[in-house]
C-alpha cells in the first residue's frame, strides 16, 4: 500500500511498537485471547526511565519479543489501567525497515479507541488518533480531551508492515512493546494535568557553531530556548533542565530520514543513556532522497507523534532541527524546535496541507489557523512572525499528558 504521507515519522505531513511483561512476564497471565501484562511492572512511582513526575507517577509494563505473525498482527496484549490514570503510552520498538502501528485498542467498556485503518501510517478516523512510525513508534492516550480514560482492562494489537520503496506490506516482525502509565499522585487533586516541566537534552553536531562547551553562553541557542519558553508558557509547560552533549560531526548534514540504515535513526540512537527529557539534535540540514527522484529537504523532524519519549536511544526518540542559516531561513530555530517537540509530545499538525486536507483531533484548534504553532506550513516559523506561535488549551492537554513531562503537584 502506498504511503501517501511519506515519512510519517515526521510529522510529515503529518507526520510519527511486543512480549510479555517485564521481566517476569509474559508468562504470567497469558490467556486464550492474548497476553496479559498483569500486575508485573518494571517500575513504578517516581521516574520510570528517568522521568520523575512530581505530580504523577509512571509505571512501565513490558511485553518483550512480541511476534506479529503472518498477517503482521500481534495477538491481543492486555493490561490493567488504574482509576487514577492520567494517560498512557504504548511504544513498539522493532526492526529496521518496518513500520509499526496499532490495529486495535479496546477500553474496559469495549469502546474501540483505535480500529484497523486502511493506512497504518495514520488512523484519522480512530477515536484516539494514532500515527505509525518506522522501527520505533509510540501512541498516546488520550490524544484529545474528547477521549476519556476509564480504569480497568485494556487490550490492543500491534501491527507491522515492511517498507520497501515507498510501499508497505503487512509482514511478520518481532517487537518490544511497552506501556507507560502516568497516574496522578495522591493529593494532586485531578487526573487532568494543569502544568508541568519538560527537560531538554541537546545534542550538537557542530551545526550553528554550537557545542557542549559553548552552549550555555551561545546567544543563538539562548535565543531559541527563550523563544520556546515563551511559546510553551501559553500552556503552562516550562522548560526545565537543559543538558548538553556533543555527538559525531558525521551527522551534521542528515542525508536520509527513512529506510534501512537511515542517518536520522542513527542520529537518534546516539541519545542512548540520556536522562529523561526530550532529545533535541541540532544539524545543518535534513534531506531525504525520495523514490521517484526527488530530493526532499525539511527544517525539522520528530521521531514520531508522539515519539517514544521514555525510551532514549531508539530510532524514533528525538527531534532534529536545522540550526544553520540557509536561503530563506535565518537560523533562529526556537519556533521550529517548539513545533517539533510539540510533535514529539503528541501534537499533530493543527491543519495539514491542503493536499492532505485533515485537521488535528482537538476541538479548540481552528481549522487552517496559520497562527497556530502546529500549522503545517512553515512560513511563520521560517520567516519569523510574532503571531505564529499560538498554542491552545487542548494542545496543552496533550503535551502535559506525555509521561516525559514532570507534572506539577
Amino acid at each position: 500500500m502506498p504511503n501517501d504521507f511519506g515519512k510519517l515519522r515526521i510529522a510529515i505531513a503529518l507526520s510519527g511498537l511486543v512480549v510479555a511483561t517485564l521481566s517476569t512476564s509474559c508468562g504470567d497471565g497469558t490467556n486464550v485471547d492474548g497476553v496479559d501484562a498483569g500486575p508485573a511492572a518494571l517500575s513504578d512511582a517516581l521516574g520510570a526511565d528517568g522521568a520523575p513526575a512530581a505530580g504523577g507517577n509512571v509505571t512501565t509494563l513490558e511485553f518483550l519479543g512480541v511476534e506479529t505473525g503472518i498477517f503482521g498482527m500481534s495477538e491481543y496484549l492486555k493490561f490493567s489501567l488504574p482509576e487514577n490514570a492520567v494517560s498512557f503510552t504504548i511504544s513498539a520498538v522493532g526492526e529496521e525497515s518496518f513500520l509499526y502501528s496499532l490495529g486495535e485498542v479496546i477500553d474496559p467498556n469495549a469502546v474501540k479507541l483505535v480500529e484497523f485503518s486502511q493506512d497504518p501510517s495514520l488512523c484519522v478516523s480512530c477515536k484516539n488518533r494514532v500515527a505509525g512510525a518506522e522501527e520505533a513508534a509510540a501512541f498516546l492516550f488520550p490524544i484529545t480531551p474528547t477521549v476519556g480514560l476509564v480504569g480497568g482492562e485494556y487490550s490492543f494489537i500491534v501491527t507491522s508492515y515492511f517498507l520497501q520503496q515507498g510501499m508497505m506490506q503487512a509482514k511478520p516482525s518481532k517487537v518490544d512493546v511497552r506501556v507507560h502509565i502516568l497516574t496522578s499522585t495522591p493529593g494532586s487533586g485531578t487526573a487532568k494535568p494543569q502544568s508541568g516541566v519538560v527537560d531538554l537534552n541537546f545534542h550538537f553536531t557542530g551545526a550553528g557553531g554550537i557545542t557542549a562547551a559553548n552552549a550555555a553562553e551561545n546567544e543563538k541557542l539562548k535565543l531559541a530556548i527563550a523563544d520556546m519558553r515563551e511559546i510553551y508558557k501559553q500552556v503552562n509547560l516550562e522548560i526545565g533542565t537543559l543538558r548538553y552533549r556533543d555527538v559525531s560531526e558525521d551527522f551534521k548534514a542528515v542525508e536520509s530520514i527513512s529506510g534501512k540504515g537511515n542517518e536520522l535513526a542513527q542520529l537518534f540512537k546516539l541519545g542512548a543513556g540520556n536522562e529523561g527529557g526530550v532529545n533535541v539534535f541540532l544539524v545543518t540540514s535534513i534531506s531525504d532522497p525520495q523514490a521517484g527522484g526527488a530530493m526532499a529537504i525539511i527544517y525539522g523532524i520528530s521521531g514520531g507523534i508522539p515519539g517514544p519519549t521514555l525510551l532514549p536511544g531508539t530510532a524514533g526518540t528525538g527531534v532534529a532541527v536545522v540550526a544553520d542559516v540557509t536561503l530563506g531561513f535565518d537560523g533562529n530555530f526556537g519556533a521550529v524546535m517548539a513545533h517539533e517537540v510539540g510533535h514529539h509530545l503528541g501534537l499533530f499538525h493543527s491543519s495539514e496541507a491542503p493536499w492532505i486536507g485533515i485537521h488535528d483531533p482537538l476541538p479548540d484548534t481552528g481549522e487552517n489557523d496559520t497562527s497556530n504553532l502546529m500549522f503545517y506550513a512553515g512560513d511563520a516559523y521560517i520567516q519569523g512572525t510574532d503571531q505564529a506561535n499560538k498554542l491552545t488549551g487542548d494542545q496543552g492537554f496533550v503535551m502535559l499528558n506525555n509521561p516525559v513531562v514532570h507534572l506539577h503537584p
Binding site: 527522484g293 526527488a294 526532499a296 496541507a353
Partner: protein, 184 residues
C-alpha cells in the same frame, strides 16, 4: 518572541527566471510550504496542469520565499523525465545562490545519476574545486551516491580529493568513499 528574517535572495539563473516567471503556482506552493512534510509526486500532478513549469517558476522567482525555492529544486527531481528539467537543473548547479546549487547538485545526482551518470559526473566534477566548503561537501555527497558501470571514476575523483583534504572535508570524503564501497 520570534524575529523577522532578512532573506538574502539571489537569483538562481537568468535563463530560467526569464522563461518561467509568469507561471502561477498556488497549488504547488502549498505543497512546498510545509517545514516537515514531504508531498508525493502524485500531489504535484494533481495540483497543477504543468507542475514542472510551476516548480521552475518558484525556483527562479527571487521574490519568493527562500525555503520554498530550495524545496522546489528538490521536488523537480520527481520530473526528471521531463525534457525541461535537465537543462534547468544543470544551470542551477553551475551558478546562483550556494544553497540552491547545493540542493541542485544533490537532486541531479539522485534523479539523473541512474539515467546519465557520465553527464552528471561531468556536471558535478567542477564543484569539487569550489572555494566554498559547502559546495565541495555537496558535490562529494552527490557524487558518492551515483551508481556507475565499469571503472569507478567517482571513487578515483574522491581519492584524488582525499590526498589534499584535511579536517572536516577529509572526514566527509572518507565517509563518502565508505558509502561508495557500499554502493558498488
Amino acid at each position: 518572541m520570534l524575529r523577522n528574517t532578512t532573506i538574502a535572495i539571489l537569483t538562481a539563473g537568468c535563463l530560467i527566471s526569464t522563461a518561467w516567471a509568469s507561471e502561477p503556482a498556488t497549488g504547488i506552493r502549498s505543497l512546498l510550504a510545509g517545514i516537515d512534510t514531504v508531498p508525493p509526486k502524485a500531489k504535484f500532478i494533481e495540483s497543477s496542469d504543468d507542475p514542472v513549469k510551476a516548480l521552475l517558476s518558484i525556483v527562479s522567482d527571487p521574490s519568493e520565499r527562500g525555503y520554498l525555492r530550495l524545496r522546489a529544486v528538490g521536488f523537480l527531481g520527481y520530473f526528471h523525465r521531463d525534457k525541461r528539467v535537465w537543462p534547468g537543473m544543470a544551470d542551477l548547479v553551475k551558478k546562483g545562490h550556494p544553497d540552491i546549487r547545493v540542493m541542485a547538485a544533490k537532486t541531479v545526482a539522485h534523479a539523473f545519476g541512474p539515467l546519465r551518470p557520465q553527464q552528471v559526473i561531468q556536471l558535478l566534477k567542477p564543484m569539487l574545486s569550489e572555494k566554498s566548503l559547502k559546495l565541495r561537501q555537496a558535490a562529494v555527497f552527490a557524487l558518492s551516491g551515483i551508481k556507475q558501470k565499469g571503472a569507478d571514476v567517482i571513487a578515483g575523483l574522491l581519492q584524488g580529493e582525499l590526498k589534499r583534504a584535511s579536517g572536516s572535508y577529509r572526514h566527509l570524503l572518507e565517509k563518502a568513499l565508505k558509502r561508495r564501497r557500499g554502493i558498488r
